[in-house]
Amino acid sequence: MRRYVRTIVAAVLAIAAGVSVGVRVDAQDAAVFRANADAVTVGVSVQRGGRPVPDLAQADFELTDNGVAQTIGALSYEKLPIDLTVLLDVSTSVNGRVLDQLRRAVNDLRKNLRPQDRLRLVAVNMRIQRLVDFDAPPAAIDAAFANLTSGGASAVLDALAVSLASAAPPDRRQFAVIFTDGKDSISINTPDMLLDTARRTTAAISVVLATPLRRPADRIYTDLANETGGQVVSLLPGETFGDTLQRALDQFRSSYVLTYTPTGVERTGAHALAVHVKRGGVDVRARKGYEVR
């Protein structure tokens, strides 16, 4: 018998750009799982006029799983600690000036993290290289940038897949932001493989595109953001990566986390989710589903 209890954590995160849900199958025990001990957590963003709506209660939400209404067991707001992964595309297109901007942006972001939050930094070209791990001292960021050079091909999709597949403690919310020009040239994982991975993991992904140009191939980033509860933003003239990064984190942080235990539905397979708020004039964004094997 396996020694772990399997819980399913679905994080439905609603951020300005769209609905998102993260689903995670965690520490597991098949017996307990079969005894209907699975818990699903869903992150939900509720906004009015572009601002978070912070005063909602459990009774304000309605949630269905495969069309079956579910009872929300718990509701939290801005409480769970966050594991933030910042991925920097350092392929040929990134020059020294941009690297310096990125270094400042990451340092600023770190200062704004709550004590319980953690930050990890990953550089991406054809190699996916962790520069700074969670719990590393602040000086590690400057040291990492000092040794960082740009060049080479770009494995953006693969890097995102690594972030999704990385270990995710069940008591922490996972959020990854990548800064990239979006041009993937070398990934072995296809967009469909990446989306499949996203449906089976919990991290939310936001993508900051260095250029406003959007090609049909960039559709994967929108799909991924929708799937995971992140967003896609293009860096506009006059905006800094730091501003954009901070805004994305603020929006992720100011989400509700609903917890429920699925009832009346098959445990395995695809689960379609729908979240509704019983107040008018609000914009509710949540992931559309998750999948359990």
Partner: protein
């Protein structure tokens, strides 16, 4: 007589001056109390016959726009039956302290054949006419032969029969890029060049629509064909201009009457402002050099437009009748830039043997006037001065140079010592090349090259300096005059560095340089060891750029030159697949296979199939074929293809690629267990290969095996910087062996 067959261009162009200077023949000498500048002009009637009997008052000479006094007029007439030309003083100005007279010089005529610019069939009658032309020249004319870039070179000689015999042996073959998918006419190439430069004209936009109907992958292939054509035409023109200029400069050292009769098919030069091929400047430089050297250039332009038009009518995608006149003018424009600037003319030969042109040249050059023009103190300042000569009778044509460079007062130019030989005897074509001084920009780079310091060369290309450095190298002397191979390898290093910088101007100049030297290293027969080693390094470098628009045409041409090396055939497959990949990266992912295989994919598949025919490249070609099928969602086809590999590839790199691709195909066909086994096999072939780990990682997530997937994710992110992955170089083909190939080339260069 010595015929130098196949001599390097750099060495070959310098032979003439040395022997002529040593021969110290007669020079036009004024004996006058007035400082005179000698200016020779031909005055012909409408039929090209020299006009005699002109007197002082009928000439009007200006230098830098200011009228000058003509002190003497001498007619040098070769239309005599005697061996020596006659020279008669027609008139002298009153008041000259002594009577002016001239010692009439012999003539030197160089027959220059641009052997890469027109086709063999056209050449046969033309060269027959050239032989007849030589036979009609006066017996005391010194005649030389200069077939370039490659061909017979004979020092000037009065042994005209030797020249005639050599002309019969000259091999001419038009050099053109490989037949392209779109079979572009020169005019279309020029129009479409505006698109590749980012400023498409309405004609270019219309053509793009006609040829590609908005299909992105088609436009990528069109871009490659246009870029390849432009590179080729610019390289040909650069090389031709460089060779001609060097020849003319050397001729300029000879104080005789010099005429170059150039036979050329020309090169396409844009007639639209800002378009390419940008060969005008190269032509202008030849013209200025010719004018300064006092060399008359008569050009027989072998117009290829008629043949091109026939070809255009038979092409698979008819798109209107070509404008034959414009097509011909595009080829001619480059020649127009210099023909006639130094007293010659250009004749268009659309068909036939061109005898009319040779007859005309014979006639026009049979007599000329030598004018003694009074100089001013500023004339001999070492700079070229614009000059114009006119005659009163407007029905007559004056052929004269448009620039003069009067000698500075001082000692005579140095004479290259050559072994004793009679002035009129055949010369030994062994005169040492007089190396031009190396410009300061190039010397340190040449030193860096000698100590194999590529970093220093790369640094020299940074920013906007690269373009100037390459130009300086082209124009600024040869660091290794005795070693053209070394120079060619240096050019390759320079071009390789230049093509990797951001500046589009440096990139373009570097691409021209590499195309130009591909012609320089060419040998008469294919599969030459040095040429193929050079092309191999160039090809691998171009594969590494992942810019198929720059590399496609070049690599296809390299494969034609070196058919014995199957890596070139594979490189064609790689560059074709790069084109497909570029299209994919701009489009949404393919989830369903297309009903028919798109053109671009089929071309890549065909090229890879050709590479799969050779045992040495079979495994890799098949793996690449399978991966192309995978990307097009033809998973079953891909698996069927890769399963033809029944024994593991000996090269671990290829073995790893095969297993990764096999795994991806199995996964797409919903055979996860076999896919997992394939990925694990790949990790045996190449431990810690990132792509295999990544593919396995996401497969594990999808199967619910999160812990192992997380462990792999951790392993990937914390891999040693020494860990490499063949997948990273998948798209750049043989660039993975660039350093090795370059090292081997340097050994051959010795």
């Amino acid at each position: 007589m010595t015929a130098a067959v196949g001599a390097g261009v750099a060495a070959g162009v310098c032979w003439a001056a040395a022997v002529w200077l040593a021969a110290a023949p007669q020079t036009p000498t004024f004996r006058s109390g007035v400082d005179l500048i000698p200016i020779d002009v031909q005055v012909v009637d409408g039929d090209g016959h020299p006009v005699d009997g002109l007197t002082l008052d009928q000439f009007d000479v200006t230098i830098d726009g200011k009228k000058r006094r003509v002190v003497s007029v001498d007619l040098i007439d070769h239309r005599t039956t005697s061996a020596a030309p006659s020279a008669k003083t027609v008139t002298t100005i009153a008041g000259a302290s002594d009577s002016s007279s001239i010692v009439p010089p012999r003539r030197i005529v160089i027959m220059a054949i641009d052997t890469y610019s027109f086709d063999a069939a056209t050449a046969v009658p033309i060269l027959a006419s050239a032989r007849a032309f030589i036979e009609k020249l006066p017996a005391d004319d010194e005649v030389g032969l200069f077939a370039y870039p490659r061909g017979i070179k004979i020092d000037p000689t009065t042994d005209h029969d030797a020249i005639v015999r050599a002309l019969g042996k000259i091999v001419v073959q038009r050099d053109a890029p490989p037949e392209g998918e779109f079979q572009l006419t020169p005019a279309e190439l020029v129009d479409l060049s505006t698109w590749t430069l980012g400023r498409p004209t309405p004609q270019a936009s219309q053509l793009m629509d006609t040829l590609c109907h908005g299909d992105v992958t088609c436009l990528i292939r069109l871009d490659a064909e246009v870029t390849g054509g432009l590179m080729h035409d610019e390289a040909m023109a650069q090389m031709s201009a460089g060779t001609l200029s060097a020849l003319i400069r050397e001729l300029g050292k000879v104080p005789l009457r010099k005429t170059v009769v150039l036979v050329s098919g020309g090169f396409v030069t844009a007639d639209v402002p800002g378009a390419r091929p940008d060969n005008q400047e190269a032509g202008t430089q030849v013209g200025k050099t010719a004018a300064a050297a006092d060399v008359s250039v008569y050009t027989l332009f072998i117009d290829p437009s008629l043949r091109k038009m026939i070809s255009a009518e038979t092409r698979s995608a008819p798109r209107g009748v070509p404008d034959v006149r414009r097509e011909g003018d595009l080829y001619k424009q480059w020649l127009d830039e210099f023909s006639g600037r130094a007293g010659g003319s250009l004749f268009r030969v659309a068909s036939g043997d061109g005898h009319f042109a040779f007859d005309r040249i014979l006639s026009e050059t049979s007599a000329y006037y030598l004018l003694g023009v009074e100089s001013t103190p500023g004339d001999r300042d070492g700079r070229a001065h614009e000059m114009r000569v006119r005659v009163r009778d407007k029905r007559l044509t004056v052929r004269g140079r448009s620039w003069i460079l009067p000698q500075k007062p001082g000692p005579a130019p140095a004479v290259v010592e050559v072994a004793d030989r009679p002035a009129s005897a055949p010369a030994a074509a062994t005169a040492a090349a007089s190396a031009a001084p190396v410009v300061p920009e190039i010397r340190p780079l040449a030193d860096a090259f000698d100590r194999d310091d590529r970093t220093a060369i790369a640094k020299a290309m940074v920013g906007s300096k690269g373009e100037a450095v390459i130009r300086a190298f082209r124009e600024g002397g040869d660091p290794w005059p005795a070693s053209p191979r070394r120079r060619a390898v240096f050019a390759l290093d320079l071009a390789a560095a230049g093509m990797r910088v951001e500046s589009i101007f440096t990139k373009r100049e570097a691409a021209r340089l590499i195309a130009e030297y591909a012609l320089q290293v060419r040998q008469p027969q294919p599969n030459d060891p040095f040429e193929c080693a050079w092309l191999r390094v160039a090809t691998e470098g171009l594969e590494g750029l992942f810019e198929p628009s720059t590399g496609a045409t070049f690599i296809m041409r390299a494969a034609e030159r070196c058919p014995a090396d199957p890596r070139f055939a594979l490189a064609v497959g790689v560059i074709r697949d790069q084109q497909v990949r570029l299209g994919e990266s701009a489009l949404a992912p393919v989830r369903e296979p297309a009903k028919d295989i798109p053109d671009g994919q089929q071309r890549a598949l065909d090229a890879l199939a050709a590479a799969a025919a050779s045992p040495g490249t079979r495994d890799e070609a098949i793996a690449r074929t399978a991966w192309l099928h995978f990307r097009a969602a033809r998973y079953a086809d891909g698996l069927k293809t890769i399963e033809t590999l029944t024994t593991p590839a000996p090269d671990p790199t290829v073995r790893y690629l095969v297993d990764v691709i096999r795994g991806q195909l199995l996964r797409a066909l919903d055979r996860p267990d076999e896919a997992s086994a394939a990925f694990r096999a790949a990790l045996v072939a190449w431990p810690r290969g990132q792509a295999a780990q990544l593919a396995l990682m996401t497969l594990l997530v999808n199967r619910g095996q999160h812990d192992e997937a997380a462990a792999l994710a951790d392993q990937i992110e914390t891999a040693s910087v020494d860990d490499t992955d063949p997948w990273w170089l998948y798209w750049v083909g043989d660039y993975r062996t660039y350093s090795t190939a370059r090292a081997q080339l340097r050994e051959r260069m010795q």
